[in-house]
């Protein structure tokens, strides 16, 4: 019996030791796990803030992180995902270029065992990304719409400058604003065009609209980059006293213009909240958590002259 026990225990010990060595060896040299941060474009300061917040929080949590700039190009984004999936990244913090087009990239990552956490922009899926943190743009623009009616009254001519068609944020923001203004038949939308979320494009579009529309009372822009371009176009036309501008984002220059009475209001998003939370969720995933809310709306706030002092660019004053 002693001989049998001795032999058995020795075999167990050898097997365990072998397995342990294999496990240790397969882990490779001790290295920091790393996150990939994929951003739609770093050409917009708002996304630079998103990216930097994700990077900082990832580092604070003990991860190396690499930022990839898709430059608004879905093909580039797909190539980045190839690199990331083969590059040993523990998680992806993702700001998609296209709500439909980016689904395939997220799915590939999921199938490769790399979790994806979306920031600011969603993909049209509840099954592929682990979690998606998206500003509650609809509610924010509905609140902006209510303030618009309060300030502008119940009738007039207005213009809408939309964002990129492939970004659901365009339709969430437009939908929220329309959910209020369309209830007032006195308000007539005289023009609606995309400024592609870009300052220069929006300025050109507004130039053109100003030439064809002699009576405009207000412009709603789906982001502040466009609001800046639109304001510039209006100023150049000499009609800045008659046309009021409303934006979305909480960008530094528009906040300043609100203080100067040049822009009426914007809606503050919180890129740092979304980025930090995405990094924290990725960290929780690495540590074993698996149940996350799939879609998480993140509250936003209307910023106007009388509450401007509560805010700073891209966030609230602490």
């Amino acid at each position: 019996m002693n001989l049998l026990t001795h032999s058995l225990t020795r075999r167990i010990f050898i097997c365990s030791a072998t397995l342990l060595v294999i496990a240790g060896c397969s882990r490779g040299p001790t290295e920091k796990p790393k996150f990939a941060i994929v951003i739609s474009t770093l050409n917009n300061p708002w996304f630079v803030v998103l990216s930097e917040a994700a990077l900082t929080r990832s580092n604070e949590l003990g991860y190396d992180a690499t930022v990839f700039d898709s430059q608004n190009d879905p093909a580039k984004e797909a190539l980045f995902f190839d690199t990331i999936i083969n590059g040993g990244y523990a998680a992806i913090l993702f700001n998609p270029t296209d709500a439909d087009g980016s689904v395939a990239n997220v799915r590939r990552a999921k199938e490769a065992g790399v979790p994806v956490f979306c920031m600011d922009r969603e993909i049209n899926s509840t099954e592929d990304a682990v979690s998606q943190l998206v500003s509650d743009s609809f509610s924010g623009c509905a609140a902006l719409g209510e303030y618009f009616i309060e300030v502008m009254g119940e009738e007039g001519n207005w213009v809408e400058i939309l964002g990129q068609a492939g970004d659901n944020n365009t339709w969430n923001r437009s939908g929220g604003f329309h959910s209020v203004i369309d209830r007032y038949p006195g308000w007539k939308m005289v023009a609606q065009q995309s400024g592609e979320f870009d300052t220069n494009t929006a300025m050109e579009v507004m130039d053109s609209i100003l030439q064809s529309q002699p009576e405009i009372d207000a412009v709603f822009c789906c982001n502040d980059a466009m609001a800046s371009g639109v304001y510039q176009a209006i100023l150049s036309s000499g009609r800045d006293k008659e046309i009021k501008v409303f934006g979305f984002d909480g960008a530094a220059d528009v906040m300043q213009k609100i203080g100067e009475g040049k822009v009426v209001a914007t809606v503050m998003q919180y890129p740092k909240v979304m980025a930090r939370t995405a990094a924290e969720y990725a960290d929780q995933w690495v540590k074993g958590k698996r149940n996350f809310e799939k879609k998480i709306p993140v509250a936003v706030d209307v910023v106007k002259e009388d509450n401007l002092e509560e805010f700073t660019a891209y966030g609230k004053k602490e």
């Binding site: 010990f13 496990a23 609809f138 929220g176 959910s179 698996r290 993140v298």
Partner: protein
């Protein structure tokens, strides 16, 4: 000799257990969380929600006396309220009776029975997502696109205007007693002065005495 061996193997086993904790040989992964059932038809979903789920939930609405009392004690109270996503906005689902003290196209002020407090019922153009979010019936995780989730807000508001407020509007008068079930959206202290609810059920209990 036997006990020494036992101790030695016990220590080795303990060491192995610790090492396996830090270098797991395998992970247990749940085979996909039960994915929330997707919504195939937005129109069918709206009808089911409006015609069946929402009326069936009226009994779960908190007594407005309890709610107003709790909010008076602590305006930040989490009791009875719910949130959606990362937000400080709270939604409340409440029922009660009250007498109309002021009436306009936009709202009716009610003196609540059982407490020295007033609430208002919204009767004008409805905006916001109180009806969608206060009862706790709509799960944002079921929507592949937030646009569809958002569209529900406006659709439900239009239902309330057409089917709850519209049929009864002409009969409302100052002095009338009404029973209601309503939804409130509270972003901050201003929304508590007074608490305003969007009615999803509104009945006249006693008409105003001429």
């Amino acid at each position: 000799m036997g006990s020494r061996r036992l101790v030695r193997w016990g220590l080795i086993a303990a060491a192995l257990a610790v090492l396996c904790y830090f270098f797991p040989l395998f992970h247990i992964v749940r085979v996909g969380d039960a994915a929330a059932e997707k919504i195939d038809s937005a129109a069918d979903y709206l009808e089911q929600l409006w015609a069946k789920d929402l009326p069936a939930s009226h009994g779960r609405a908190i007594d407005v006396v309890e709610l107003v009392t709790a909010l008076a004690a602590d305006p930040q109270t989490a009791t009875f309220g719910r949130k959606v996503g990362l937000s400080d906005t709270r939604f409340y689902f409440a029922r009660g009776t009250g007498q109309i003290t002021e009436l306009s196209g936009a709202k009716a002020m009610l003196r609540i029975e059982g407490i020295d407090a007033s609430v208002c019922l919204k009767l004008g153009i409805l905006t916001g997502s109180a009806v969608r979010d206060a009862p706790g019936l709509v799960d944002v995780n079921r929507f592949a696109r937030l646009q569809d989730f958002n569209a529900l807000s406006g659709q439900l508001n239009e239902k309330v205007e057409a089917e709850v407020i519209g049929p009864i509007r002409e009969q409302l008068a100052e002095g009338a007693r009404v029973a209601f079930v309503g939804c409130a959206q509270v972003k901050g202290p201003r929304d508590l002065s007074p608490l305003c609810l969007t009615p999803v059920s509104l009945k006249i209990v006693d008409e105003a005495t001429p």
